[in-house]
């Protein structure tokens, strides 16, 4: 809990720092809102040409996008800065963090914290509010409860993926962009129904990089659709277990990376 307190205090400090350049802060926030909006627009434009893609219509896909956008947006909001690990290693600022009495993960996650990062979350939340009443599904209490649960587990899974991707930079300092292929790439991938990517990709994102649990598997339950891979019914409820396992895995990999870190020296 001390960690959470430190996070909040550092976040407040960085917020004051970001507010010193109000024009930049406004433009940076706007750019995040715009980035999320451009994904929504792309989906709308695509569905202007094709009414249905592999059995999903515009409303369904906006719902999938909103779940994935919220999960990735919240993870990026709280932990996105960990992708800067390589820069901290190269410039030596990681050493400075090591001598401070606060967890290094917290310090890196909160580094340059700025409210602009909420810019990604807000459009996704609005899209969710727009899409929910337009879904053609039978709203049982279980389905209703599944929506917030999915966002929560999705955010946890994305956070774990972000930390795992960043930990790679303990070994290859310049590899920041490689992690982008699973973080931003994963966010782009999960915007559309996974069935359009074919069975091989679906197996990879279910069993290797479990992006399928960010929105796809829970959405199959909420929308009451068959699983194109024919996986058993319980897989649709596996997101919490996947989130816990992946977070544990991320913590282990991060600790291993920290232990073997020996500074760049000069």
């Amino acid at each position: 809990m001390a960690e959470a307190g430190a996070y909040l205090r550092l976040a407040a400090a960085w917020f004051r720092s970001a507010a010193q350049y109000p024009l930049s802060l406004a433009l940076l926030t706007l750019s995040q809102v715009g980035a999320a909006m451009s994904s929504v627009l792309a989906i709308v434009f695509v569905f202007g040409h094709a009414r249905v893609l592999s059995g999903f219509d515009l409303g369904d896909v906006l719902f999938l996008y909103a779940l994935s956008g919220l999960a990735f947006g919240l993870a990026d909001f709280a932990f996105g800065s960990v992708e800067q690990l390589g820069t901290h290693i190269r410039t030596g600022t990681l050493d400075t963090m090591l001598v401070r009495p606060v967890s290094v993960l917290v310090q890196i996650a909160v580094d340059r914290f700025s409210p602009r990062r909420l810019g990604k979350v807000v459009p996704a939340a609005i899209t969710l509010c727009y899409a929910l009443p337009r879904l053609d599904t039978d709203w049982t209490p279980a389905r209703i409860a599944m929506v917030p649960a999915t966002v929560l587990c999705g955010a946890a899974i994305c956070t774990a993926i972000w930390i795992l991707g960043a930990s790679l930079q303990f070994y290859v300092t310049e590899a920041r962009e490689a992690a982008n292929s699973v973080t931003y790439g994963g966010s782009a991938l999960t915007e559309y129904p996974l069935s359009i990517y074919g069975q091989d990709v679906m197996r990879v994102v279910t069993f290797v990089v479990p992006l399928a649990f960010v929105n796809w598997q829970p959405a199959l339950f909420i929308l009451d659709r068959p699983d194109p891979l024919g996986l058993p019914e319980w897989v649709r409820f596996a997101a919490p277990a996947v989130a816990v396992a992946l977070l544990a895995c991320a913590a282990l990999v991060w600790r291993t990376g920290m232990r073997r870190y020996a500074s760049t020296g000069s």
Binding site: Y21, L23, S24, L25, A26, L27, L28, L30, S31, Q32, G34, A35, S38, L41, A42, F45, V46, G48, H49, A50, R51, V52, L53, S54, V172, T173, E174, A175, R176, E177, A178, N180, S181, Y184, G185, A188, L189, Y192, I196, Y197, G198, V201
Partner: protein, 264 residues
Amino acid sequence: MGVYTSVFWHGLRRYATYRAATAAGILTNSVFGCVSAFVLIAVWEARPGLAGWDAADAVAFVFVAQALIGVVAPFGPSLEIGERIRTGDVAIDLIRPVALPAWWLAQDLGRAAFGAVFRGVPTFAVGALLFTLTLPDGPAQWLAFAAATLLAALVGFGLRYLYALSAFWVVDDRGVQAVAWLVGPFFSGMFLPLALFPEPLGAVLRALPWSAMVQVPAEVFLGDHTGAGLAAALGFQAAWAAALLLAGRALTATAVRRVVVQGG
């Protein structure tokens, strides 16, 4: 001229140093290419012949766009001059007996040349291995695409130079850059081919400079323009390149005359 050639080679060699970063870039561009390719294949399955293309054309478009990322840098890196203006280091650049825009152009073309060969070509090769995609017919079309790529690099530099120069006025150019990184990929057709945009938005975006960075070169690659149409497409890119470079030169002169470098 010699000094600019030398700056060009230094720009190229500088990026050649970061091999792991280049490999990571190829991986990321390929993953995004695959995601977009699958989406567009699904769209073309639902609407065959959309925009006069078949699915193989659409997939080629996607991978040409991803391959051009290393050349036109729509997501950055921003030109270092923005940072140098913010820190005041630009004062040192101004002492050098070379033209400021030409210096940075030479360096950026070095970066673009490296990006084209070592990032663009492998990314496209990944796409060609994994998907069926259209290739240009014959050497003339390849040559036209090479010319379109060079012009795209000039337009990309022209825009990024203007973004960076904004630091002379707003000091912290990060906000401007962030908006630019958003607008560039969307307006250029990198996120989604401009052919899929509803009219009149599509037509408006086609007239703006960003389309010269991705949409036009990709169309040249697919052979959508022939004869006079091809000349018009390349002329469109050249006109924007000239306009942006001249604007960059004029703004540099204004900035140098009336802006006090940070730090006094």
